[in-house]
């Protein structure tokens, strides 16, 4: 039986995490990427949508990452892609965190028929290919949200409807594993003396759930959150590649990569179109995966 201690965020975790060179490297890289994404656009002052006659220029001093078919600066585009991809990844993971944790907590704590029903639902959703569910959801919900957004400020927010739908759809699909893990932990935590003591003292169910069980789950939840972010980002890039995700002129790493991949041929080698977005995305995913692994190891230590 798993003990409760390694699943909570104990005080020494941060120190144990930083002892690992891989974790240090991943954290530095992530901090760097986040800072660039947030502040570099302000410094550069380049419009990612501004076209220019300088089409398909190789990287040079004015366009550090080169330009694309429409003469748009690839550095500005990559930074815009970073903003959208990270936004979708983080918010999607948070949505899945919320659904997964509450579902797992309730299933594990209440047990009985509720538990059976919720786990049945998880099983059914597991049986449906994930991408199909996401695509169907975006496909059905997007027109609804667009109709709803259209009258607000002359449709200024219309471009964001697809992104919002992506976040919701990805979040609503990715929570399954989280729910299972949280439920398993709650099942073993529930039998421990401190929960029984709280129950004997007559504390309310919600207080036991939020004050006693949730803090003890924080560690494992954080680990899976770190691993869900790259999964969501990868799913988003698949959708954008298939033309079902972020719509032009907005760019995500997925759309940039699919443009770059199509421009790859030996006659006109526009390698920069693929290299820079691919490097940015892969490094971010790699760092997140590394961090998740290191966190898991540090928790188990």
């Amino acid at each position: 039986m798993a003990t409760a201690s390694p699943t909570s965020l104990r005080p020494g975790l941060w120190r144990r995490l930083l002892r690992r060179p891989a974790a240090r490297a991943a954290l530095t890289l992530l901090a760097g990427i986040l800072l660039c994404t947030l502040f570099l656009p302000l410094l550069l002052n380049a419009d990612p949508h501004a076209t220019s006659p300088a089409a398909l220029e190789a990287p040079n001093s004015t366009h550090l990452f080169g330009t694309d078919v429409n003469g748009r600066d690839l550095l500005a585009r990559t930074l815009e892609g970073a903003r959208i991809s990270i936004l979708v990844g983080l918010s999607g993971a948070l949505v899945s965190l919320f659904i997964g944790t509450s579902c797992g907590l309730i299933a594990g704590y209440v047990g009985g028929r509720t538990d059976a029903l919720l786990m049945r639902l998880v099983e059914v959703l597991y049986a449906i290919p994930r991408l199909i569910l996401i695509i169907l959801a975006t496909f059905a919900l997007d027109p609804l949200l667009q109709r709803w957004l259209a009258p607000i400020q002359q449709g200024r927010w219309l471009g964001y409807s697809k992104i919002a739908i992506l976040i919701l759809a990805l979040g609503c699909i990715e929570w399954l594993t989280m729910a299972r893990i949280v439920r398993g932990q709650v099942l073993s935590l529930k039998t421990l003396p401190f929960v029984q003591a709280a129950q004997a003292l007559g504390q309310s169910h919600s207080r036991i759930l939020l004050r006693h069980l949730l803090p003890n789950l924080s560690g494992i939840v954080i680990v899976y959150l770190t691993l869900t972010v790259p999964a969501v980002m990868l799913d988003e890039s698949f959708l954008s590649f298939l033309g079902l995700g972020v719509q032009a002129p907005q760019a995500s790493w997925g759309t940039l990569l699919s443009d770059g991949a199509q421009a790859l041929n030996p006659i006109h080698s526009h390698w920069w179109l693929l290299l820079f977005p691919a490097a940015a995305m892969s490094l971010t995913l790699l760092a997140l995966n590394f961090l998740g692994d290191a966190l898991r190891d540090a928790l188990a230590e």
Binding site: A127, F241, L257
Partner: protein, 306 residues
């Protein structure tokens, strides 16, 4: 055993029913129909078309009619590929996707197991570090980047494999590798973790004390137990390969089922989409059942009745 199988088959039918309902309702309720074009078609013709594809009447009538047809094995006509039945389209494209997916499945399982065991046995050595770094790298690069890169190297520069399309069985090599890549990495990671855990367990010490040959300890005793988490990953693996094949078929221009899936959505081709979704779900549900059966075979402590 029989009761378990029957119950699973029933729940599989339930899942399929839910998925068909969901797909049909979502596509039919979303604005825009299969015959909505830039240029408006005359109402009389549209009415005729809808009647021909049995998309007229109330939503309930359409839905029950479709369900009845599906139960009879008739997946109806595609609205985009005019005059071709969905059964025909699937029969044509499914073997290609099955070959691609099956190949990637085998490749991922064998290569992943091998890499993971090697890494676990040489824990802490440069071999281990390189293998695991490579695995993380493979997981972090989307397949629509590895695909074009492989094409650039093997098809365009070295000229030893075809670029895309489906002309010979050689055309399937690069797509299979592209599709299997991330799964090789996942399996290698799981195998390594689980084998490392098993290698420390007391029953191996007993086996050694008895004088069992080291190779037999590894391949027969340790690997059989270490396989459990890998086998339970085979279900999600099948799901990942299905998803991946949609992307890979589009990268390599393969006329497989996955390419129909995306087109069907973009064209609101209800019946083609329904057909593809039914096939995919049936495959996945069957795969999950097989995984559960394999699990009990490997670990007799797990009972099917639970």
């Amino acid at each position: 055993m029989l009761a378990f199988l029957l119950r699973r088959l029933l729940s599989m039918a339930g899942v399929l029913f839910c998925v068909i309902t969901l797909t049909f309702l979502l596509v039919r309720l979303a604005p825009g129909g299969p015959f909505t074009r830039e240029r408006k078609i005359p109402p009389a013709i549209e009415k005729e078309l809808l009647a021909r594809y049995r998309l007229d009447g109330s939503l309930w009538e359409q839905y029950t009619g479709y369900l009845a047809d599906v139960l009879h094995g008739d997946l109806r006509l595609s609205t985009k590929y005019r005059d071709r039945s969905v059964n025909e389209l699937l029969a044509q494209s499914l073997p290609i996707s099955a070959l691609l997916g099956g190949g990637a499945f085998l490749l991922a399982a064998t290569l992943g197991l091998w890499l993971g065991s090697v890494a676990a046995l040489r824990r802490g050595t440069p071999t281990d570090t390189t293998a695991m770094l490579g695995a993380l790298g493979l997981i972090s690069v989307p397949s629509f980047v590895t695909g074009p890169l492989l094409v650039l190297v093997f098809a365009l520069t070295l000229r030893c494999l075809p670029v895309g399309g489906l002309n010979s069985s050689w055309s399937l090599i690069l797509p299979t590798i592209t599709l299997a890549g991330p799964s090789i990495a996942s399996i290698a990671r799981i195998t390594r973790t689980s084998l490392l855990e098993v290698l420390q367990s007391p029953f191996l010490r007993t086996a050694r004390a008895k004088g069992v040959h080291e190779r037999r300890i590894l391949y027969v005793h340790a690997l059989k137990v270490a396989l459990l988490p890998v086998v339970s990953y085979l279900g999600p693996l099948a799901a990942n390969l299905l998803t991946g094949s949609i992307v890979v078929e589009s990268v390599f221009n393969l006329p497989g089922t996955g390419s129909f899936f995306v087109n069907a959505i973009l064209n609101r081709d209800v019946f083609l989409l329904g057909g593809v979704v039914i096939v995919y779900c049936a495959l996945l549900v069957t795969m999950n059942l097989l995984v559960d059966l394999a699990y009990t075979w490997l670990d007799p402590r797990i009972r099917l009745e639970n």
